[in-house]
Structure formats: C-alpha cells, structure tokens
Symmetry: C2
Subunit: 340 residues, 2 copies
C-alpha cells in the first residue's frame, strides 16, 4: 500500500531533474545555485522594506511582517506556530520569507499564487495582524512620508492595497541568499565542502530526498503528501492543499519547504513539531522514504544541510515616516472593529 504511492512521484521528479539538469545545472546536480537579486526598481524595494517593517499595518500597531518573518533570524520567528493579534496561537508554522520568490505558490497550502497575493493575507487575517485593507490604506494615506514615497514610486499620491502589496513583494523578491558553501561547491570550489558534508549530500541524493527537495531553493517547487510511507501523526488540523482545491487527493499535501538556510529556520514541518534538524531528517526518512537513517547517516545529512546557509539579507534598518495627528491610531487592546 505504501511504497507504490511514492514511486510515481520519485520517477516524475527524477525525470524532471534529468530534463532540468540537461539544460543548465552546474555539474548536472539536482540543486542549482541561487542567483543574487537584481532589483529593477530600487525605490519600490525601499518602500516595500518600510512597509515590511511597519507595525502600523496591524490593528495593534505591534505586529509587522518582520515579526513572524524576522530577517535577523532566517526570515522566520523560530516558533512552533506564530503569535498573532491578542497573542492568538497561530495555526501553522511561519515559513521563511527567504527565497520565497522561488516558491511554486505561497503559504503551506499554496492558496496565494505569488508574493503579492500573499502579502495582503496576514494584514487582514483576524488571527495575525487583524487589521483590514481599508484601515491599512487609510493609515498609510494619512502619513505624508509614505504619500511622498508612493508618489515617487507610482507617480500618484493615491495609496491602495494593490500598490502596498506590490511594494512588499518587490522587497521580498530581493530576499535571496546566494553564495552558500554548497553553492560555492556547485560553482567548482572543491574545498567548499568537507568530506563529511559531501557524504551527506551523496546520501541526500541517493536516499531520494532530492525527489522533492531540488532546484535552486532545494524545495518550494511542488506540493507533496506529508506522510507517504507512514502516516504523519499530528494534533495540527491543517489539511494542506485540500483546503484550496477541495480534492480528496490533495488532503495532507503541503508545499515542500525550501531547505535553503534550514539551519536557521527551526522548528520544522507545517506544524513546527520537529525541534531539530536531526529529528526532521529522521522523520522525513521514515515517513517519506521508508528509510531509517543510522545516527552516522543522519549526522552526515545534517552536516550537508548546514552548508545551504547563504548570504543573509544585509541592509540598513528602515526608518518609518511618523504618523501625524490625523493618522488612525492602533487599537492594541480595544474591541474588534470593522473588518475589511
């Protein structure tokens, strides 16, 4: 019952890998290096950076994009599930924003097609930032410093949620992490990896991990069943892709997470239940591949995974234009008001 489910996926992925490798991948490896970002519109990116760090997009004035996707901490909050408005316990682990522009879609269930569509979600989610698009736009529209930025970038003083999310997405597109040791090895620097790390990569490939964790982001490019060989046991009620498509076949299918910077993005899995890489590798081996990695094999794979940490975002902390008298004030402790 179990192995046959896996095989078609593995075969399909292997074919995809061969096709991809034949085209461009250095050394014909299933993982490709990450390229540095080349922002087309630096002013748009700068505006997006401010918005990303601005807690005034939340009802409380306390939660920004960076609260749960903290760029000082691998683009995550390193919590099992996140803290939302009024200290609500989030339903799912916050995925890293780093390299998220390479994802096939956004959120664990892929319900947002791209970063722009994603960015509007948490602002208006009552369990996250708990504001609304209307209020968020009102706040920004009232702040002369922002209006000047919008004018500069978009040629108009009119703020709207489309422009807000375009700017945030443009900033997020810059959050790529090139130049990991693994990428340097891919580029031909044979000394970039130790023998142990290289042995880990060999195991990673030969065991079938690359079937899903491949491409420049080492994941992020497909939805897969969580618990292929053995079912995954969790208290977390998330049903994955099924919530989007309504198809039974998509039940418990989640977007494969990127393994880039995985040393920094603990805890792991959509429910955040794996506290360590060792635990995550062990669980993945058993549940997805029917393999019990020995302690030595696990160590080697973990050592390889730690070579995927690339250059982290490196920028000056943005300064946010101050509110003015007319700016609607945050309501951290008030009652629920109008929704979007």
């Amino acid at each position: 019952m179990k192995t046959p489910k896996l095989l078609p996926a593995v075969i399909a992925c292997m074919l995809a890998i061969s096709a991809g490798a034949a085209m461009a991948a250095p050394q014909n490896e299933p993982i490709q290096p990450i390229k540095a970002a080349k922002p087309k519109d630096p002013a748009l990116v700068e505006l997006g950076k401010k918005l990303y760090f601005d807690p005034r997009l939340s009802k409380s004035g306390f939660i920004s994009c960076n609260s749960c996707h903290n760029l000082s901490m691998g683009g995550t909050d390193n919590l099992k599930t996140s803290i939302g408005h009024n200290w609500q316990e989030g339903p799912i682990n916050s995925p890293t924003v780093l390299n998220s522009s390479m994802n096939v879609a956004q959120f664990w269930d892929g319900r947002a097609a791209d970063l722009k569509a994603q960015a509007g979600g948490p602002i208006a989610n009552p369990g996250e930032m708990a504001s609304s698009h209307v209020v968020a736009v009102e706040v920004l529209q009232s702040i002369p410093g922002y209006v000047a930025d919008f004018r500069k970038v978009f040629g108009t003083d009119k703020v709207d949620i489309d422009k807000v999310t375009r700017a945030i997405a443009a900033f997020e597109e810059t959050l790529v992490t090139p130049n990991s040791r693994f990428d340097r090895w891919l580029a031909g620097d044979k000394k970039a990896l130790s023998a142990n790390e290289l042995a880990g990569y060999k195991l990673f490939k030969e065991s079938g991990c690359v079937a899903c964790h491949n491409g420049p982001a080492v994941g992020g490019n497909s939805f897969q069943k969580m618990g292929v060989v053995e079912p995954y046991k969790t208290d977390n009620p998330a049903e994955g892709r099924y919530a989007v498509t309504g198809k039974d076949a998509d039940r418990f299918n989640f977007k494969v997470p990127t393994l880039r910077n995985v040393e920094m993005t603990y805890p792991y899995f959509h429910d955040g239940s794996a506290k360590t890489l060792k635990e995550a590798v062990d669980t993945m081996g058993r549940l997805q591949l029917g393999k019990s990695f020995s302690a030595d094999e696990n160590d080697k794979i973990v050592a390889f995974l730690k070579t995927l940490t690339g250059d982290q975002p490196n920028f000056r902390m943005p300064l946010l234009p101050p509110s003015v008298d007319a700016t609607p004030r945050p309501q951290p402790f008030g009652k629920q008001t109008r929704a979007d």
Copy 2:
C-alpha cells in the same frame, strides 16, 4: 496655592540655566546640541545590538528590546502603553531609548540608575519579556555564535547578565540623534529655522517650558511633579518617584521626558494619554505653567518642537546567531515557569 509651588522650581532652573549657559552653551541657549556618539568598543556595541534585537531574551521568543523601543520609530512603540508577554497591557508609556544615555536615571520613576541597570529589568519583568536572567543567560550560553562574540569582547566564554546588560547599554549609548535643524541653528546656521519655528522657540523659553526641558536632551535631567498648577487627571495608577523613595514629596514626580525627536515619540506623557503634540503642549501649558496657549502660540511651539528631530540610528540590521539543538526553546503559550 498653585503658582507659589511652581515659582521656586522655575527660579532654581533659571539659575541653573544661567550657570550652565555661562560655561559652555553655544549662543547661551538653555538647550545644547547633541554630540555624535563615539563608541569606545565597537565589538561590544555590535554584540549589544544583536542582544537588543534578539527576541530569545523573552520567554515567548517574540519580544525584544526593539519591540517596545523600536529604532525604526523614534525608539518607541508609539502605543499608549506597551504590549507585554501574553498581550498584557503595560502600566506606563514606553519612553524613547534615543538619547536615553543623557537621562538622570532610567524609567519614568528613575528606579534604574543607568542604562545597564535598566536593561535587566524588562527581561525578567513578568509583564514585559517575562523571562528570567537565569534563563536568558542559559539561552545565550548555548548559542555558539554568541559565545564567540562574548569571547571576543570580554575575553571569556562565560556569559552572565552583567555582560549582557553592559553590551546592551553600550549599544544604547550610541543611539544619539545629533544634527537636528535646531542643533544646526544652535551651531550658527541662521537659515536652519523658519521665523515661525524661531517664534515657537522664543515662546518655549519665555513661557517657562525650558525650566524643565533644557540641556542637550531638552529634558531627561530632572524629576518634576506632573500637574503643578492644576492636578493631572488620569486613570493610570503610577505614582512616579514616590515608588522609589517612599517620600510623600515625590508622589507624582516623574522624570521629565526628553523632547528630542518628539515628533516621532507620540503618544505623550507617562500614561500616553496625549495623542498629539498640540494636545501635549496645551496640557503642559495649563497644568505646569498656568498658561493657556492660543492656537497660534500652540502651533508655533509645535513647529519648534518638530525641529528637534535629529539623525536617526542608521545601521545594518543585525543577524542573530541561530539556536542549536541544546538551546532552551521559547515558551510563547506555555504556563508560567520558574522566575528569576
């Protein structure tokens, strides 16, 4: 009953101003320019910056020093009172960290002698970061990246709360904001202020505001009664300096807040009840000075106050060393554990 209470303070301050002015102040003004920070130990400052931004100093792993003293927003959270662990409503307005090294003491009631003493407070305060010094040190000690920093800075691998708070204080000492338009005017640039702003400054001086708001930080250097001429009405139970000294005379004495960057540090007063500068100036005039400023006078004073915004902190966002398997994990939603 009312004016006599004020007069001795005003006279004492005027004498102090004369004495100070005679010594060093440019143009004999009661406000002196802020000097740029000259950090003695850049590595200590860099370590302190990481710690300032690290939410792992809190029980939840969600709240850092920067959460309530946000360096993108004037060193404050721009909330009436702050949000603490488990969304607890803070008892008092978070004062700005900018230029706080110039304060006579820290906290509104001055209960901490200096920034180092202050830095340990919120970490272990159950209503704020809700961790303990023991746990915070355990967390840092477990993280190889931090241990390397402590070794580099202090010559030892041993982390303790004394070193942690020394580093945070050293970073905070760099958070000064020189080069405001007002400072440029003080330095002789007559075009730095408009006639309206200058008229506001003249009113600020002649009305007696400078009695308490003087020196480089335009405040921060004394404790004064809130509500001298008229009592201040508030639901906030804070009793100010009395909580520290137990002396009846200190009841409702609070540290005079700095007016540097005051355009960015709204809302105002220890209870955060004044939403706008206009409201704050009006209330201060009536309650502290027995003056009702006309709308025009209020506008002018506000215009002057806005010239006190200096160069904001300008640095690269710190990257925090990741936790390792042995690092104690945050407990955002767990029950209360041991206290410090």
